[in-house]
Subunit: 138 residues, 2 copies
DNA sequence: ACATAATTTATAACCATTCTAAACTAGAAG
DNA sequence: CTTCTAGTTTAGAATGGTTATAAATTATGT
């Protein structure tokens, strides 16, 4: 409960006041050794488990969106009824298990180069993301 | 207004009764020379424009889901607040313009082979989809 | 024509997300 | 330290896409 200095500094540097809610969310998101994927619902549960004071749902949404805008989180393109977020903000790709609703990273080093032999006049590429749908086999 | 025979046959072959609602939706979806992408909202507007009798929203959802289950439509994985569907059911990929919310096909012949050098024990690959986000440049 | 299961429909329910506007707070200034 | 103010949090309402419900309608086999 306090190498918060790092997070306070990060928040301040981003023009975000280091409130106790934001610091708690930073701890949950950015303390773990490994990056991870989450839905807002899952995040709410994690926060409830790891934090004593309650954070309102609106604040969680606000904070996640603020962090996304600052580039501290990525939103992942999955056909789903809810958004998924990723604390891994590097360019990378995903396996997605539709039954388990589980996301697994594929790092750029684990995938061959992707050649797109089609251009659209007046449009430029912002990102290229590969989604590999998998199923658990019996 | 009647090479419906084709659609009636198709529906019957799928175990779906050829109601006038389903036939109308078939006409809208499968008559065009080119495949296309649509959201349910867009489809509702197209149906209103091209059809005289009204089709309830519930029926449109029901039918689209039935057609998807039969493999006549694909649902496209886009991070968005609504589902997109595709009358192109072949394996292929997409450009996505987030501002215009516009999808453009990338056929398999227009993209190099995708090599995934990572396996997950107990899981097998069902599909590999590439989403290329683009922006209109000024 | 009749019977029956499938289908359609209006409407309510659901649920993730966003909005609102009032209460609270961090940080700056005096 | 006190005051001021913009930024933040919050509960609750609103939104919007989608799904569920259950009654009316229809397709189809007999
Ligand atoms: Mn879906
Ligand atoms: Mn979104
Ligand atoms: Zn990831
Ligand atoms: Zn397509």
């Amino acid at each position: 409960m306090s190498n918060n200095l790092e997070f306070i500094t990060k928040l301040r540097a981003s023009g975000l006041r280091p409130t106790k809610q934001r610091i708690s969310i930073c701890e949950v998101l950015f303390s773990p050794a490994e990056t991870f994927h989450f839905s807002i619902n899952e995040l709410v549960k994690i926060i409830e488990r790891k934090t004593n004071h309650k954070i309102s749902l609106a604040t969680i949404y606000n904070t996640i969106h603020a962090f996304k805008k600052k580039g501290y989180l990525k939103e992942i393109a999955i056909n789903s009824d809810q958004s998924y977020f990723d604390t891994n903000t590097t360019d990378h790709h995903h396996f997605y298990d539709e039954q388990k609703k589980e996301l697994i990273d594929i790092h750029n080093s684990e995938i061959g180069p992707i050649k797109i032999n089609k251009t659209i006049p007046g449009k430029k590429i912002k990102s290229v993301e590969v989604l590999v749908k998998v199923e658990t086999d019996y």
